[in-house]
């Protein structure tokens, strides 16, 4: 009950910030539209909506990391976290309270991006239904990174960290180009991180290639568990002063 009360407060804090709408919704849709226009003049099929939309949905989740990290960072710097640490709430209440409001935001991002892709000409597929489930799991990875950044860094540092993070998540995920176009060490490093696997899983599920979803999702879920574990450990440590 306390976790839901805290989640409601966090939902209001995030959704009442105009930056949420601008970066979380408008920017991914704008990029989807721009890249789909570029696709018309491209000699290869990277920017086709079938490849682009699933990757941009994953890209939009990067902003969830920013929202979570900034919220926790601000709560720390304003002593708001100190006020609620003094309350009878448990560590699980805090973490659930920070994570839960992000899931509906991820759902909105998925539906807004997919809806826009349909309007731009992407053919409708029934595979979009299981894709929502897979993408929701992927969004947990980005929520976990937000908890991690918010726990270990101040709100100002989170802004700087996010600039690095968003570059890593896009360049090393194969969103804007095929990773095997570069190959070598770059590709190997990319596949040691979870972001390329997240994009691969998203593209595979939208394409109905369920067999190709399993292994990338194992990577994503393993990273999610580790990141959440570190964030929970750090958060509990902070709670103990």
């Amino acid at each position: 009950m306390r976790a839901l009360t805290f989640a409601e407060r966090n939902r209001k804090e995030i959704l009442r910030d105009p930056m949420t709408l601008l970066f979380g919704m408008v920017l991914p849709l704008l990029m989807l539209w721009l890249f789909s226009m570029m696709a018309e003049n491209m000699p290869f099929d990277l920017f086709t909506l079938e490849k682009l939309a699933p990757a941009i949905i994953v890209f939009s989740f990067s902003f969830i990391t920013l929202f979570t990290g900034m919220l926790i960072g601000r709560d720390k710097s304003s002593s708001f976290l100190m006020r609620i640490f003094a309350s009878p709430m448990a560590a699980t209440d805090y973490l659930a309270g920070y994570a839960l409001p992000l899931l509906p935001i991820a759902f909105l991002q998925i539906t807004a991006c997919y809806g826009t892709a349909l309007l731009l000409g992407m053919p409708f597929t029934i595979d979009a239904i299981p894709a929502v489930g897979v993408l929701s799991i992927i969004s947990l990875l980005y929520i976990g990174f937000g908890l991690f950044f918010g726990t270990f860094f101040t709100d100002r540092q989170v802004g700087a960290m996010f600039a690095i993070f968003v570059n890593i998540t896009t360049w090393l995920s194969g969103t804007w180009f095929e990773l095997d176009m570069i190959g070598g060490t770059f590709q190997r490093v990319a596949y040691l991180l979870p972001f390329a696997h997240a994009v691969d899983a998203s593209r595979a599920i939208f394409a109905g290639d369920y067999g190709a979803v399993f292994i990338p999702m194992l990577w994503v879920m393993a990273y999610t568990a580790v990141i959440f574990g570190i964030a929970v450990w750090g958060f509990k440590k902070r709670m103990r002063g």
Binding site: R2, T5, F6, E8, R9, K12, E13, R16, D17, R74, S77, S78, S79, F80, M82, R83, I84, F85, A86, S87, P88, M89, R240, G241
Partner: protein
């Protein structure tokens, strides 16, 4: 029932922040903790409000130990931190209702309590204003109202009037004087006139240790000084020599 602090100690990597602090604060007392920056006041508040575990020692807060039963202690207290700690994008009313709910009130009770405190703290006409739009004085009032909404038996006020203009400070003093006797209040501040106007007893900390304890009159008698400022300077200078 009282607050009994027994040999409370906190060290950080070999540095002693609070050094064998022992004192008793009576129920309903307005107690002021004074000290220079780094004297250990905020660490003491964090220890007593269960935000930190002591390295050694204990404090019995109205019957419950901060070491043995911190969850029971947390239900009895609330805190108004040095920074106002107000949710920026929530309205005044939502901020109050949020705190009431995390301390166990249902929706109806939280709303009733929020209305009562907005009335008491002169916030009714700003009920729908977002936290980020409030002036410093209103933000401080809201911060204390948020600490009061859980109906605590003990409240910690960490420099509650810092940054306020004279009128806002006097308004807040009046609110605090109205609370006097109803709950146990532990105040830290650098404003000595605030202590003179509000506190029943005063504790002076220096480098983690309690160097003086008593009413203003007792401290005047002990030091031979007439003003709290001179009492404070004399006692902290003596502590420095020791």
């Amino acid at each position: 029932m009282e607050i009994a602090i027994k040999e409370l100690t906190k060290t950080f990597k070999g540095r002693i922040a609070v050094d064998h602090l022992s004192l008793t604060i009576g129920q309903g007392e307005f107690f002021a903790l004074l000290g220079e920056n780094g004297a250990g006041k905020t660490t003491t508040i964090k220890l007593l409000s269960c935000l930190m575990k002591p390295t050694s020692g204990d404090a019995i807060m109205l019957g419950d130990s901060i070491v043995e039963n911190p969850q029971a202690v947390k239900k009895k207290l609330n805190i108004s931190p040095q920074e106002t700690a107000v949710a920026r994008n929530l309205t005044v009313k939502e901020n109050l209702e949020f705190i009431a709910k995390i301390y166990g009130s249902d929706k109806r009770e939280a709303e009733q309590k929020a209305m009562g405190l907005m009335d008491k703290f002169g916030l009714m006409d700003r009920a729908k204003s977002k936290g980020r739009t409030l002036s410093g004085g209103l933000e401080r009032r809201l911060s204390i109202a948020m600490a009061m909404i859980s109906e605590p038996e003990i409240i910690f006020l960490d420099e509650p009037t810092v940054g306020l203009d004279v009128r806002a400070r006097l308004d807040l003093w009046q609110i605090l004087l109205d609370l006097k006797g109803q709950i146990t209040i532990i105040l830290t501040t650098h404003y000595l006139e605030e202590v003179e106007a509000l506190a029943d007893r005063i504790g002076i900390m220096h480098k983690g240790r309690l160097h003086a304890l008593g009413t203003l009159e007792e401290l005047k008698e002990q030091t031979g000084q007439a003003k709290l400022q001179d009492i404070f300077l004399q006692l902290t200078a003596e502590a420095e020599i020791q």
